[in-house]
């Protein structure tokens, strides 16, 4: 189902809308959350994914399809919810994520984001995509290999090298 149709359905009948959204995107959110909560019980992962969709249910009206997509919105939401839950589970200080991006270090954070984006963009395709699929979306190597028609060990190799390249770029080397 197209994003626009799904958002229209969310407006008309939120419960049906959320069902369809979950049918389409539970896998995406699950892998993101699982990657962040690795080592935590499965039930924590499931609870967190459920919280992602509950937040989507409350916030879907914020989605601007001119600028983004449901897929992107959910991905960021899943990552944030997972970080929040991990902080709680590991007893680290829980700062609302929105807050951590405002305030005094905002400029520094923006700069970090830009530098990282530049570094990832500077990698060849599909190396940059492999890196993000692995470390943001939590896709298993097997799934990435199938998506790009590569061998599994090639994917791991590319991820390792890509990571090393990003490190050098961020440190000012080439």
């Amino acid at each position: 189902m197209e994003d626009r149709e799904l958002l229209q359905l969310m407006q008309k009948n939120p419960e049906n809308g959320i069902r369809l959204a979950m049918k389409q995107y539970t896998g995406l959110c699950y892998y993101i959350v699982q990657q962040k909560l690795s080592g935590q019980p499965k039930e924590e992962v499931e609870e967190c994914v459920s919280d992602v969709f509950l937040a989507f249910y409350h916030q879907y009206q914020k989605i601007d399809l001119e600028k983004g997509s449901i897929r992107c919105f959910l991905a960021v939401l899943a990552r944030r919810k997972a970080i929040d839950r991990l902080r709680k589970l590991t007893g680290k200080e829980t700062i609302p994520l929105e807050e951590s991006w405002t305030g005094e270090n905002q400029v520094q954070k923006q700069e970090e984001r830009r530098q990282l984006l530049d570094a990832v963009h500077s990698l060849d395709e599909p190396d940059n995509k492999i890196l993000i699929l692995k470390y943001y979306f939590g896709y298993p190597t097997k799934m990435i290999a199938a998506a790009f028609g590569l061998k599994e060990n090639t994917v791991d190799q590319k991820a390792r090298r890509g990571l090393e390249k990003v490190r050098k770029l961020l440190e000012g080397g080439a």
Binding site: Q11, K12, N13, P14, E15, I18, R19, M22, K23, Q24, Y25, T26, G27, L28, Y30, P41, K42, E43, E44, E46, E47, V49, S50, F53, L54, Y57, K67, G68, S69, R71, C72, F73, A75, V76, R79, K88, L89, S100, W101, K109, E112, R113, L116, L117, V120, H121, N128, K129, I132, L133, Y135, Y136, F137, Y139, M143, A147, L163, E164, V166, R167
Partner: protein, 488 residues
């Protein structure tokens, strides 16, 4: 580097991520996906049921007409369901084969440092454990900083953990409620918690930071019954079963009432025992009409003692239960046997119909003849009117623009069909407008509902959706309870 890289990715926004979105979405095993879906929908439903005010207008005056023409329809087909009585929670109707669990409360309350903590409404549906934690004290937010949010402070001050499977887990609440004294000190804090586990039937220990005493409960499988009449003193009419019990407490006689449907026709129904009284006064502020309605309600719903005297209901004692209601009437054991009289109740069901309506010219009103047939009533579209064009300002800062819009207003009427279940209202929705969103109103004298939105200058049709009809279940019941505590 891997860790640092991941942490840097944590602060990426949609803008940064959008070029790296996967084209193929991963699939998840169906059982896990369904489990997550079920949990999420439960959370959504819980929120809708308890903490939000649904934008439906209850056409209370309809009851007079409805009762006047109420026929007794044919007996509806029996339908196989399992009914679970969960002490303290209510009656669950199984529709999906989910295993229910009831709780044995081993330690459900304590008082420490002037705060009384109570564990309530504990049960599990499949792997999802539901519970409520209530804290009561003189000033629970003592020490709060100026400007700090009450909920944030309470959540931080009283984190909750639960031990099971040999591990202690932190619990987060799905929703909460506070009560303030004199609009200042919080003296009641209620948290609703839902937690998924892998092995439901076991012992659980709940701890709240700052208190030594734990709360302990054990969950065991509740097998349920196919015959709700066995749940207590019951009566079944036209596929509706009313079950009741009563116990003598220090406040009076506490009555629990449950209404369940054994019919295939009424699926996913939610009986609303109280909105029929409350919504009128609260939503419309019409005290006179509200008073009239309360009188009607009281004449149909009351408890008599053995001598035929009506026992006064303590209104504050009313509490919603799953598929039921708990309330206290003034009385003692000497009043038994008591007789419970119940009139028609209001029921919400799931049914949705949409229609594309042709819009009249700008500034005109068009009489309509479209009708939408629902199982227990008909929605008759009466009129669609479109206002003159106005300019709606949208955007912010430099991007502000004026957009030509027109207001659309649709009026409709709900005509109930004859029978035991009679539709009297339905939610109506249209796509959200730029100016005022979706508006709705109800003229209770004419019994006409209206709703509206705003549309573009050149829009020719508008899709309207009517969903979740409200019905009257037009049956009355008389239950005699000989002795207290019959439900157990």
């Amino acid at each position: 580097m891997k860790k640092e890289f991941e942490e840097m990715l944590d602060i990426w926004t949609e803008e940064e991520l959008k070029n790296f979105l996967p084209e193929q979405l991963p699939e998840l095993d169906e059982m896990t996906r369904k489990r997550i879906e079920k949990r999420t929908l439960e959370k959504v439903k819980q929120e809708n049921r308890r903490f939000s005010k649904k934008q439906i207008v209850a056409a209370v005056v309809c009851i007079v007409a409805v009762l006047g023409i109420a026929g007794r329809g044919p007996i509806l087909a029996a339908f196989e369901k399992l009914f679970h009585y969960l002490p303290g929670v209510g009656v669950y109707v199984d529709e999906e084969g989910t295993q229910m669990y009831s709780a044995e409360l081993i330690q459900d309350t304590f008082t420490e440092n002037g705060v009384t903590v109570t564990l309530k409404n504990v049960y599990a549906k499949g792997i999802a454990i539901h519970m409520e934690l209530v804290m009561e004290g003189e000033n629970l937010t003592e020490g709060i900083l100026e400007g700090q949010d009450d909920f944030d402070y309470l959540k931080e001050k009283y984190p909750v953990t639960m031990e099971y499977n040999g591990t202690e887990y932190e619990l987060s609440s799905n929703s909460g409620e506070i009560r303030k004294e004199n609009d200042e000190n919080v003296n009641r804090y209620r948290r609703q918690i839902i937690r998924s586990v892998s092995n439901t039937a076991q012992l659980y220990t709940v701890r709240i930071a700052g208190f030594e005493t734990p709360l302990v409960f054990r969950l065991t499988a509740n097998e349920g019954t196919a015959d709700p009449e066995t749940l207590g003193v019951s009566q079944t009419k036209s596929g509706i079963t009313l079950t009741a019990s009563a116990e003598v407490t220090e406040d009076g006689i506490a009555v629990e009432l449950y209404q369940v449907y054994q019919t295939e026709e009424i699926q996913n129904a939610e009986t609303d025992f109280r909105r029929q009284v409350l919504i009128y006064g609260i939503d419309y502020g019409d005290e006179d009409a509200s008073q009239d309605w309360i009188e009607v309600y009281r004449s149909q719903n009351y408890v008599e003692n053995k001598d035929g005297a009506v026992l006064k209901t303590i209104l504050e004692s009313q509490e919603d239960m799953q598929n039921g209601l708990r309330f206290v009437v003034e009385g003692t054991e000497a009043d038994f046997p008591i007789t419970i009289h119940r009139g028609p109740t209001t029921v919400e069901t799931s049914e949705t119909q949409s229609i594309a309506l042709d819009l009249p010219e700008t500034g005109e009103t068009k009489t309509m003849s479209e009708q939408l047939e629902f199982a227990y009533g008909t929605v008759e579209i009466l009129e669609v009117s479109v206002s003159d064009v106005f300019q709606q300002r949208v955007g912010t800062g430099e991007n502000t623009v004026d957009v030509p819009r027109r207001d659309v207003e649709i009026s409709y009427r709900v005509v109930p069909k004859e029978g035991v279940f009679q539709m009297y209202a339905v939610s109506a929705e249209a796509p959200r407008g730029l100016a005022n969103g979706v508006t709705s109103d109800w003229d209770y004298k004419e019994n006409i509902f209206t709703f509206g939105t705003d549309v573009a200058e050149d829009q020719e049709t508008l899709e309207a959706t009517f969903a979740d009809p409200y019905l009257w279940a037009v049956e009355d019941f008389t239950l005699v309870i000989d002795t207290p505590k019959q439900l157990e």
